[in-house]
Symmetry: D2
Subunit: 380 residues, 4 copies
């Protein structure tokens, strides 16, 4: 019989809605599933939001006090969707309470905290997953599979960008995302985790990084008093050179001022025997180049990864175009499936701490500047 997994969600903003969507959708997309999700409780500090979550997403109860949810004996899993700076106390309390945790990226606002949380989680023996939904796109799954089969060969180049354009208007007011104390950084913290995670997942860890940060619009109006300006102390963009252990070369770039970009995560992997490329704005396809084919048969192939999910995914049929939200459903399914089966969820907080380690190394590398090793994170 399917194990019941009782979810308590902390924070019901944009990401909370998407997670709620995914929980509601899993039973229709996957069959059979070895668990049953109950949306048991939701907490949000904003007046009326928890009630809205109850009405919209079908949580059984709502509250403004997240501690109530974390402490609830009828809750198995804590799903953290609060702003970055508020992850820490929730994580600590949830670990103490012995709950399994599904946490939005970034795990914390700095490497030291992240390491501490990981150690606590490992000691407590809870299960944990960081939200890195792009690993779960069919095209990225396929890329991973091909790389593991040796399709790319020795790595020459990894080229990754994650570009947004939401901050190009200098009249857009300051917000928590533009204050270091609330976030731990700018584009590198907001967009970096996704492209760093995809890179690590596909080609493994870099041996050293060397980056630079830019703030194109150094002050912005206050939302409440637009005539007053506040300093932006986080980067709008970061560019990073990378070196890989085997001699490969890489670049990473994140920006919130990439004019014309919608939600543009792109990567190119080029190696001694093949190449891969992907663009999230064309999410249904992976482009693959097999350099071992004879001349005349070579060329990038647009692999039909459209909606190709392995069993038990049953719907929609493997041909219908998909979008971003589908990757969230797959990520949450993977987490719940691991919980139900007693296996180790992935990507876990270990991967989350690695992301912090990259951010830390990149920020430090930009000061000197110097090629900077990424601090190692042990899997156990």
């Amino acid at each position: 019989m399917a194990r019941k997994i009782r979810v308590g969600m902390i924070g019901y903003g944009q990401m909370g809605r998407i997670h709620a969507y995914a929980y509601r959708t899993i039973p229709v997309f996957y069959d059979p599933i070895p668990f049953e999700v109950e949306l048991t409780a939701v907490a949000d500090v904003v007046d009326g939001v928890a009630e809205r979550a109850v009405a919209q997403a079908g949580f059984r109860r709502g509250t403004k006090d997240w501690r109530e949810v974390v402490a609830a004996p009828d809750v198995d899993v804590i799903d953290i969707c609060t702003p970055n700076s508020e992850h820490l106390p929730v994580l600590e309390a949830a670990i103490v309470a012995g709950k399994d945790i599904y946490c939005e990226k970034p795990l914390c606002t700095g490497l030291a905290d992240a390491r501490r949380i990981l150690a606590l989680a490992q000691k407590a023996g809870i299960r944990h997953q960081i939200v890195s939904e792009y690993r779960f796109l069919p095209a990225v799954r396929k890329a991973k599979e091909l790389i593991e089969q040796g399709f790319v060969g020795d790595l020459f180049h990894f080229r990754g960008v994650y570009l947004h354009s939401g901050y190009i208007d200098p009249k857009r007011p300051i917000s928590w995302r533009l204050r270091r104390e609330a976030t731990g950084g700018g584009a590198l913290v907001d967009l970096g985790p996704h492209i760093i995670d995809v890179m690590r997942h596909l080609v493994g860890d870099a041996s050293a990084v060397l980056g630079t940060c830019s703030t194109f619009i150094p002050e912005r109006p206050l939302a409440e008093r637009p005539s007053e300006m506040a300093r932006v102390d986080v980067e709008d963009a970061a560019s990073v050179l990378l070196r890989f252990p085997g001699g490969g070369s890489g670049t990473l770039e994140v920006s919130r001022c990439a004019t014309g970009a919608e939600d543009e995560l792109r990567f190119e992997v080029q190696g001694s025997s093949g190449a891969l490329s992907f663009n999230l704005m064309d999410p249904n396809w992976l482009y693959a180049y097999d350099a071992t084919l004879p001349e005349g048969s070579r060329g990038f192939q647009r692999l039909a990864t459209v909606q190709r999910y392995p069993a038990p995914a049953v719907a929609p049929a493997p041909k219908f175009s998909i979008g971003w939200v589908r990757s969230h459903v797959a990520a949450q399914f993977a987490f719940l499936d691991a919980i139900a089966r007693g296996s180790v969820p992935s990507p876990s907080f270990v991967d989350a701490v690695w992301v912090h380690a990259y951010q830390d190394a990149i920020y430090r590398s930009a000061v000197a500047p110097a090629w900077t090793a990424v601090p190692t994170v042990d899997r156990e």
Copy 2:
């Protein structure tokens, strides 16, 4: 206070799952919504399927007997997801029972039945919508909006194709989709409604059609006894020439043997002042060409329609890539919103009968061959 709409679903196969997905998703994607959906009952003739629907999608009860659901006093809306040939009795009974109806395409298996159902529905005063989800893609919405603003001008060309490739393998056995008595036709009945509906929605009705049908694989093995062959009496593909009232010219093509196609609905609209094009495999963008711009400023523009839904759509944010299922959510929202507000749903059975009228005219035009007027369907 939000009106409660109690849904009874008939048939829980692939499309039933997708509709269930959409009902579960609406509350997370739209806010506020003037209704509350209750998944009250579900019927499916196959053993165990209704039970599965209850478990997966949260219907309150399930049964093998669709008549039970249609007759239930606690059901407001009948959602029909059965195979084509089984729509008719459900439609009749649901109309008699005074239920509002949301029906998968095609409405019936022939024009005469479709006309009769429309007349019954109109007489009974029920509300009705046919599922034509592509109207609800942001890119198609944008195309409609631009055309209404005169962007395209006088129509020169409409070019529409809907291409699948699921039937290119001659070893794929015969099934109900390949038997005329169960479907009323082949690719024209299966894929035709979508591209015909998109065409009518965007550029209006053709004055005459002239088509041809092809069956590339005229016999296929029986599923149960693969050594025995059965005749395929429906078309694998149809190609159609069209004339529009103002002198415009068109082509339509549908195929289930379009090698290499996944789910490829494409259209091009070209007129005296502009052009539009779209491909469902690149669903996040509408391409628009403004011929009134000066030389040097002209060129197709990839309009950022990604996830652009009007209020009350609130999630995901208007920039994340979307796929096919999002259009189902939007279509169902439109229906339920109309029910809740007491307005007329669209596209209605009137539009569904128009699709049958096209199919009827195309099939007749192929016999002679002759330019054949599409029989008119009155809106009331």
Copy 3:
């Protein structure tokens, strides 16, 4: 030692310039070449044009009288670049004079004349080639090669369009291209030969055609007196359904009012084992889909046909992007190479007459309408 081929060009307008370009370019692009081109003479009826051709392209002499060039004993090859309606007398005279002929498409302005010219040419034993440069694009060459290797299998679909947009402005005055007596037709005569030739080259001849013609802008101002309107008696566009001997289905479309199109020749070939597609506006690539690959490895491959010409083509290197003019160079090289080697040039006037046969059948099919067999043209 290389044979000297002495060229006499008749007509030095846009196409004459392009041919002159190609003659001048061959020695740089190909090596070794079994011939040496001498641009011996050029004729153009317009004052000063022949002189310009001498100065620009290096012809040895120029004249207003084409008969002089055709009769010249020091001319081996006549290259015909005049407007359509003036091909006939030049062709006749050149055949009588025993010259080999390289003739711009369309050969004549009607099927009967074309047949007569072919018979004369065959009787006289001259060598002849019609200009169908798209056969000579690397991507089309590759498509041909793949089809001959069985890549596509049994033909299901051929879908071809050739779209221009030069006539969407109703203020564009009438010209010889818009008068049937000067051209023999409209878009079908102007653009049709290219897409018909590519189709025949790739998938062979259709068994029957059924077409329709449209004139969107039925009258246009006189160039000299813009306030006076003249009737356009040729089609702006034609759309054609096709049937192939093996049961395959096709569509062809040509238009000079395809808003947004620059020079858009596109084709898709779909068969039982593979598919190909091409777009002249992306001329460096052929897209190929191998349906015999296992699921998970399928998808359109962008074959690197960029600048891939077989020896003796030596420059530029096979990787640099090419454009339209390169195909003219290859076509002329093939002609001159055949002349020098004493082999039969291809595509020849036989192919040119086939194009007329299609046009003739399409025009007739549109009147009835009726499925119309394409009159056969014998190779000898």
Copy 4:
């Protein structure tokens, strides 16, 4: 009357052929032209090559001794197409002889030599142009024009790559391009000039650079004795971070081991009011995004730059696809036009020296590593 310009070409390899092609083509593509080109003399040290150039391209005479050509009183312009390391003596002699010079990139094999040559050329008052043909692609011309009109606004990002894949095979033997003494460097010297020139042309000079170089295949077989390996002392790839005076951020990357790339020069320019992007493998279009348009009208526009050359370019018509060679014709036309009119050619050796200054700064920046200012080059 048109001025006669008598060209002496030094080196007739791949690039010599392309230049010869361009000289022969100009008179057909442009009209009127204020000059007449005579291909007077050609020199190549390899036995028989000069003779071949005479036969193929129509030079009046050939020799193995370049000094003969440089000294010839009937030669006005020296066109240098030799390997990099042999530019220097030719440049010096040609300047001393007072010839105008058209020189393939890179000008020299190091910054000091390049500065010296520039000083000599300036003192001698000769006219000079470096071959940077990509400036002359219609799409790049259009990008320049738009940027000058303020389309992009304040620069946020410049992202440029030039990717080749010719060296991914470790069995490819060593050659002069892989020896620093013959070239001055690897990919940065070979591919760098193009993308650096395009960057400078479009967004101006960076204030500082910080780069890194990679050699993926550090030794290669000798061509003559494949069992013996030789060390590669130049980079296969270089990646560079850039800072622009106004605060903008940039990345440049060049590689000869970018698996899957043919001839892939790409750039993206993103600024406060707009964005541009281009890919040489899709050379007929510039993509432009106008961020000042209202929401709903925004999106990248594929500007129809196909074959859009200003007068006196007359052929082919502005709609036919073009390729790489067309840009060489335009570059050479610009040079000859400047010579004929007595104006200053551009890009000149000043621009060539800037490219060397970038290379020099990038190489130095990689050693420390350190943000390194690009040494200034004065226009006079």
